[in-house]
């Protein structure tokens, strides 16, 4: 029960002595146990979490507890926690244990958050349904025949099913916002460079960003505030000061706010419930005094092709490190060095990862580099310009997070392009680096959640939290 509360409420009860971190942690593992069929966790850390809970309880008593005291957090299994496993959902990293903790983990622990485990994910974060994990798919808590979204499906389900207060995932093309929308929780993709990537296993380094899940906008703002900020260990970590994202969220207002609706994000073939909920939201915003402006992001059609060229190119380079020599799986069948490389990779990687390594190798190969990779980087700049132009007219951009609610397991596994298209509304924020937040806006006729997202200009996270907090309060 307690696990399903918001952190704000939990903290009030902790400070009032009505509950303890020990109790919260015990409840958390009970919920994980009850939901074990969802396959959300790859590793649980009950001993560490229980010990930590006792320490934090003592600090609460002493009045010295940090800002996240008693907040349970689950980590996607591509984020390093010292001495814990780090599989990335892949056979090739089974047995690997981290030598250090990610910067975000250290920041969470410094504020007394309690790490409870590592969550399931698409292999190397490559997927939109959590079906490519070597450790089996994650199931949607409301309908086990449906996917939770991906690639951070385990983290999303852990939050949605009340197993943890918050969770960290990672985004490369929408891997937190898309599952957040499918699961009816809040998912935040911070500005590229806002949150340190140190200790996040690289997929596509110019796109990857550690991204939190929470059940309320306030909790999401709080955890983002804690993990954000410059880190000397990441050369792409921005020195831009971090604002207070939680400030004034209770009185969030959209009056006078200019909100852009990009016409390219309202496409044929969209689920009718998505269209209906978006229309209702638009009316609510107008009634509250927001100015809705129809805008155009003219290069939107190129988003997914551009994304798949850049992401796979960077992935093929990043995943070259998995060679069976220094860590991870080494094929027992290799007799020569060359065989060690080829067999370890062939036996260690799953189909989707191989497909993307192949595509990435192809677009970077001699004779094709200019036509694909360089071209995609040029298109990326056009997408960026679209956003910069749009934000000259509006404060926030509003769009559906996904064209449909959660789809069925197996529905898209045989058609890579159909699967890639489930990131159609999310990948632009990753390519252009802007922050975005997905939040629930209602359900379809089957009770499946539907999500919308606000996108904001670079480093304007505060503005999008304000907008999302207003929606949360307005829709109750």
């Amino acid at each position: 029960m307690t696990a399903a509360e918001s952190y704000s409420e939990l903290r009030r009860r902790l400070d009032a002595g009505e509950t303890t971190c020990a109790q919260i942690v015990a409840d958390s593992f009970d919920a994980i146990q009850r939901g074990s069929g969802l396959n959300a966790f790859l590793a649980q850390l009950p001993a560490e979490a229980t010990q930590r809970a006792a320490e934090v309880d003592a600090r609460i008593q002493a009045g010295t507890a940090g800002r996240l005291a008693g907040m349970t957090v689950a980590l996607k299994d591509n984020i390093a926690l010292k001495d814990a496993q780090l599989t990335c959902g892949s056979k090739i990293l089974t047995g690997f244990t981290s030598l250090y903790s990610a910067t975000v983990v250290e920041r969470l622990q410094a504020e007394d958050a309690i790490i409870i485990g590592k969550t399931n994910m698409d292999e190397f974060a490559m997927g939109s349904s959590n079906e490519t994990s070597f450790f089996g798919p994650v199931h949607h808590p409301l309908d086990s025949a449906r996917v939770p979204g991906g690639s951070s499906g385990g983290s999303g389900v852990a939050v949605a099913a009340g197993m943890t207060c918050c969770a960290l995932g990672s985004e490369t093309g929408g891997s937190v916002r898309q599952p957040a929308a499918f699961l009816g929780v809040v998912g935040v993709k911070p500005t590229y460079g806002r949150v340190s990537r140190y200790g996040l296993v690289a997929f596509a380094s110019s796109l990857d960003q550690i991204s939190p899940f929470a059940r309320t906008v306030h909790d999401a703002a709080l955890i983002t505030e804690v993990i954000a900020g410059h880190d000397p260990n990441d050369t792409t970590s921005s020195s831009e000061p971090v604002g207070s994202y939680t400030n004034g969220l209770d009185e969030a207002d959209v009056r006078g706010m200019k909100i852009g609706l990009p016409r390219e994000y309202f496409i044929d073939g969209m689920d009718e419930a998505v269209v209906a909920r978006m229309k209702e939201l638009r009316e609510r915003l107008e009634d509250a005094g927001a100015e809705i402006v129809e805008i155009s992001l003219p290069h939107t059609n190129y988003t997914i092709p551009c994304y798949y060229v850049i992401a796979t190119a960077e992935a093929s380079s990043n995943l070259a490190r998995f060679d069976g020599a220094r860590y991870g799986y080494r094929s027992p069948n290799a007799e020569t060095l060359e065989e060690m490389y080829e067999l370890s990779r062939t036996e260690g990687f799953g189909t989707e990862v191989k497909r993307r390594i192949m595509l990435g190798t192809f677009v970077l190969s001699s004779g094709f580099y200019d036509a694909y990779y360089r071209k995609a980087q040029q298109v990326r700049r056009l997408l960026h310009r679209d956003m910069v132009e749009a934000f000259k007219q509006v404060d926030l951009i509003l769009a559906p997070t996904t064209p449909t609610p959660a789809f069925r397991l197996g529905e898209k596994t045989s058609d890579p392009i159909a699967m890639y298209l489930s990131d159609i509304f999310t990948a632009a924020a990753n390519l252009t680096g802007i922050p975005a937040i997905s939040f629930p806006i209602g359900k379809d006729a089957n009770g499946l959640p539907i999500g919308a997202q606000f996108m904001a200009p670079h480093f304007q996270e505060g503005r999008m939290f304000q907008g999302a907090a207003w929606v949360e309060q307005a829709l109750g």
């Binding site: 047995g95 690997f96 244990t97 030598l99 590229y192 110019s206 410059h230 000397p232 260990n233 050369t235 792409t236 970590s237 921005s238 059609n301 190129y302 092709p305 551009c306 798949y308 060229v309 093929s316 070259a320 060679d323 069976g324 020599a325 220094r326 860590y327 799986y329 080494r330 290799a334 020569t336 060095l337 065989e339 060690m340 080829e342 990779r345 062939t346 990687f349 191989k354 497909r355 390594i357 192949m358 595509l359 192809f362 677009v363 190969s365 036509a371 694909y372 360089r374 071209k375 995609a376 040029q378 298109v379 990326r380 700049r381 056009l382 890579p416 392009i417 390519l431 252009t432 670079h458």
Partner: protein
């Protein structure tokens, strides 16, 4: 639209240090062609004179001071090694294994 042959896919496979069975290679060539045809939409974008964008971040290479920080010991660095001997990673024999 370029058609990618199974020979080309094999070449990419070797560059990527992967192996496919003949059946996998055949399936893969079909799928690969579909994906490549799909990303070829990019050709239609007018990118005349547009500078390629490698990062969305305006600040680039934000360096830390060149001061030694915490380091891993050799034992820690070898902790995850599939095979090690006396403080070294061990790999199959390299010399005399020249491949084309």
């Amino acid at each position: 639209m370029s058609q990618i042959t199974s020979n080309q896919v094999q070449h990419i496979m070797r560059l990527a240090k992967l192996r496919f069975t003949p059946e996998e290679l055949e399936d893969f060539t079909v799928q690969f062609n579909q994906i490549v045809a799909y990303v070829e939409q990019l050709e239609q974008a007018d990118t005349e004179g547009v500078m390629p964008m490698t990062s969305s971040l305006e600040e680039l290479n934000i360096m830390r001071d060149d001061v030694p920080g915490p380091m891993l010991s050799a034992a820690e660095a070898l902790r995850n090694a599939p095979k090690k001997t006396e403080g070294f990673f061990t790999v199959p024999k390299v010399i005399g294994e020249v491949e084309e």
